[in-house]
């Protein structure tokens, strides 16, 4: 019986292989001609789907931007680079797949790929590696690797979140702003705190309201998107905010539940708003609920890295890029931007422009006195936070509601 069954499945495997081979015959790609072989191919590893309307799409479109701006370049990519979608693989292994297809520079788009990016860079010193959002190339950072082919890039999204917080404060009538947080780490803490600082500043100084009337609360769902049974359901969290009188929800996650739920509540006659994140087109097709979206624009920096690799003068760097204050939404010069949504009335839009102008003029909201959430002094009177202090923010700030660490 055993040998009979072995024959059966062996036949199955054999037939599958033969058929796959037979199907393949005659459809081979033509051999690369000399023009193709001269192409500069760069590879990109995306942690989620390339068309997720969020973080990954912003990176994917930046790759297309590079292709458009440097003739002779070609992007190849693998998306959904995470262990749930790609069982048994590691980011460095997948990067090698890209190299096997001709990639001469690799972009890792997620903090989750930190180990893989470092391992790959160490094993392939001839391949320039860009790790977005990481700190392995930061000499003063906690994860410095001293690798000659590793660069990090991250936009100073703190500004984008401050603008988002300001838009929320200007639009809120209840003074209750919710923040749909992903997981708790240094990056998410500093971005959430930035949204709070922006909201607090505009509530007091632009809207002229009593700071005691402002409530800013974050609820962390546990991941960048919903995992049923594991994370909190972002739809439920957004609903909970709206049901408790919060009239603006700022999203820190990669998916659009805050916006979708705001639309649902607005359609029922409520005045509520949401602010998505990451991607320029984040407001999507909603109507009357989106106040705007802070977004990343990776294209110009990626173009610069690819060009330096082509020219043979790639050097390691940690690039923490500010927006172009002269032209915040310039696709060729600004590392991040803010697109106003259709729910932001003209008057508040003008006030927001004034706030942006103040930021451009040097307004720094990361200036003391600022206390951490537990009351300890973070910045003394007049003290300005260093990049290190902002990047590695240890807690939320005093005045914010919600958990600072998962341990609480």
């Amino acid at each position: 019986m055993v040998s009979k069954n072995i024959k059966v499945v062996f036949a199955l495997v054999l037939v599958a292989t033969l058929l796959l081979t037979a199907c393949a015959k005659g459809t081979s790609e033509p051999a690369a001609n000399s023009e193709e072989s001269e192409k500069f191919v760069f590879g990109m590893l995306l942690v989620g789907a390339y068309n997720d309307q969020g973080w990954n799409q912003a990176h994917y479109e930046a790759g297309l931007y590079v292709q458009d701006h440097i003739p002779g370049t070609e992007m190849i990519y693998i998306d959904k680079v995470n262990t749930a979608d790609r069982p048994g693989t590691t980011p460095d292994q997948l990067a090698e797949e890209l190299v096997a297809q001709g990639a001469k520079l690799i972009i890792f788009d997620s903090d989750d790929m930190k180990d893989g990016a470092h391992a790959f860079a160490a094993a392939h010193p001839d391949i320039p590696v860009i790790h977005a959002s990481g700190d392995g190339a930061w000499v003063d950072g906690n994860a410095y690797q001293n690798l000659p082919n590793l660069a990090n890039v991250m936009g100073r999204m703190e500004y984008g979140k401050e603008i988002a917080g300001c838009a929320a404060a200007l639009s809120s009538t209840t003074g209750k702003i919710g923040y749909l947080g992903p997981l708790i780490n240094e990056e998410t803490r500093r971005l959430t705190a930035s949204a709070y600082l922006g909201a607090k500043y505009c509530w007091e100084n632009v809207a002229g309201k009593d700071p005691a009337d402002l409530t800013f609360e974050v609820t962390w769902i546990g991941f960048w998107s919903n995992i049923p049974g594991v994370t909190l359901d972002p739809t439920q969290v957004a609903d909970d905010f709206f049901n408790r009188g919060y009239d603006v929800v700022i999203s820190g996650i990669d998916t659009t539940e805050a916006l979708t739920e705001a639309q649902k509540y607005a359609d029922e006659g409520n005045t509520v708003f949401a602010i998505p994140y990451d991607f320029k087109g984040g407001c999507g097709q909603t109507s009357g609920v989106c106040l705007g979206v802070p977004y990343y624009n990776w294209g110009p920096s990626y173009t610069s890295y690819v060009q330096s690799a082509i020219d043979g003068n790639f050097t390691p760097s940690w690039d923490y890029l500010a927006p172009n204050w002269e032209d915040l939404n310039n696709p060729d010069t600004s590392a991040l931007g803010f697109v106003k949504g259709d729910a932001l009335p003209e008057e508040n839009g003008a006030k927001l422009d004034d706030f942006i102008a103040e930021l451009a003029g040097g307004l720094n909201l990361w200036k003391g006195p600022l206390n951490l959430q537990d009351g300890t002094v973070f910045l003394a009177e007049g003290e300005t936070a260093t990049d290190y202090q902002v990047w590695y923010l240890p807690q939320l700030l005093e005045g914010m509601l919600g958990l600072s660490t998962a341990a609480e």
Partner: protein
């Protein structure tokens, strides 16, 4: 009378099992080709890329075997419980608990004076214990609480996932920060040795061979194997025959959990070298398809697991080269199972028809 003879004649020409397998494979390929065609892709080119991605060079072949090892172990584990008639859907959680136990052991012993070999060995053993204990919970709920092992297992999978996330983001988090990339990687001396230039560990291959020889002996040559087969065929009859059904079913669960835990431990010591949120990589659910397609036959499970492994590894090429979603290779996997089950049904129907005709004769 003529009609009757015609029926008998047809029955006599009942195709062999291999023909049904070929038919199911062709059906699965045609179905997948249709899906690819609908997606705007060339089926031939897509299949070629999958094959090239799996067999293009020795590194790719080795990468396929890296997937094959835990998938085979998990499929072998499931065959034990499936033989006993237990639908152990909690296998994912058992893999995770194995990984958690192995990680915990490595964390405790990493600074000890023990040799790395002993530490790795102990981590694998504790992984087996972790998986077995998690399976025992399902077994207790099933055998003493009257809770279906399906629901108990699925529920415990969620608990295991939450537990691993909590460990990664709180007590075992990286210095200063929790990260979805997992806990801090272990020192290289605590990695299971791999073949130079490859990610594949020869030790893990040897382990699969040893485990499957052991399973073959256990299931085919021992009283335990015969008894759980009897339980799987008819629980009540087995009980009337004097078999201690609860004891043997619990033993089946423990063995299954132990092997799943070993697969989880190998994910830690041989593949990821740390605990990550999706440490099971979905091998538990994939192994169910393997066991179904192999009809609970151990040797066949090894072959089918390899077929699934190469589809997984080969599928990576789809987004790179063809800009296709690589989950399309998963469509081929599930289509194979679906068409195999369909052809199995057809075969059974024809066999029954043949039997009826024989009796009529």
């Amino acid at each position: 009378m003529a009609v009757k003879e015609k029926k008998i004649g047809f029955a006599k020409r009942l195709p062999s099992s291999a023909v049904f397998s070929i038919a199911s494979t062709v059906g699965a390929l045609l179905f997948t080709s249709f899906i690819l065609w609908m997606a705007g892709a060339q089926p031939g080119l897509t299949f070629e890329k999958i094959l090239a991605g799996a067999f293009g060079d020795s590194v790719k072949i080795a990468n396929g075997l890296v997937v094959w090892v835990p998938l085979s172990l998990t499929a072998g584990a499931l065959i034990i419980t499936f033989t006993a008639g237990l639908w152990n859907l909690g296998i994912e959680g058992q893999i995770m608990l194995g990984a958690i136990a192995a990680t915990g052991t490595l964390r405790v012993l990493q600074n000890s004076l023990l040799s790395p070999v002993l530490i790795i060995l102990f981590a694998c053993l504790m992984g087996m214990v972790g998986g077995a204990l998690w399976a025992a919970l399902t077994g207790i709920l099933r055998l003493f609480g009257g809770v279906s092992e399906i629901f108990a297992g699925v529920g415990l999978n969620f608990v295991a996932t939450a537990l691993s996330l909590w460990l990664i983001f709180d007590p075992w988090k990286r210095p200063g920060v929790g990260s979805m990339s997992g806990t801090e990687p272990f020192d290289e001396r605590l990695w299971l040795a791999t073949i130079p230039g490859y990610r594949l560990s020869l030790w893990s291959l040897v382990l699969v061979v040893v485990v499957f020889i052991g399973l073959f002996i256990l299931l085919k040559k021992t009283r335990f194997g015969i008894q759980i087969k009897a339980i799987g065929k008819n629980l009540e009859a087995a009980r009337l025959m004097g078999i201690q059904t609860r004891k043997q079913m619990m033993a089946a669960m423990l063995l299954c959990g132990g092997l799943a835990g070993l697969a989880g431990a190998l994910q830690v010591v041989a593949v990821y070298h740390r605990l990550i949120p999706s440490i099971s990589s979905g091998y538990g659910f994939l192994a169910m398809l393997v066991a179904m397609l192999a009809n609970n036959n151990l040797m066949l499970a090894l072959l089918v697991a390899y077929l699934f492994a190469i589809l997984n590894i080969g599928g990576i090429q789809l987004p790179i080269v063809l800009h296709l979603d690589s989950t399309l290779s998963g469509v081929l996997q599930t289509a194979l199972v679906l068409f195999f089950l369909i052809m199995n049904g057809v075969k059974q129907h024809l066999t029954e028809r043949k039997e009826r005709n024989r009796h009529a004769e």
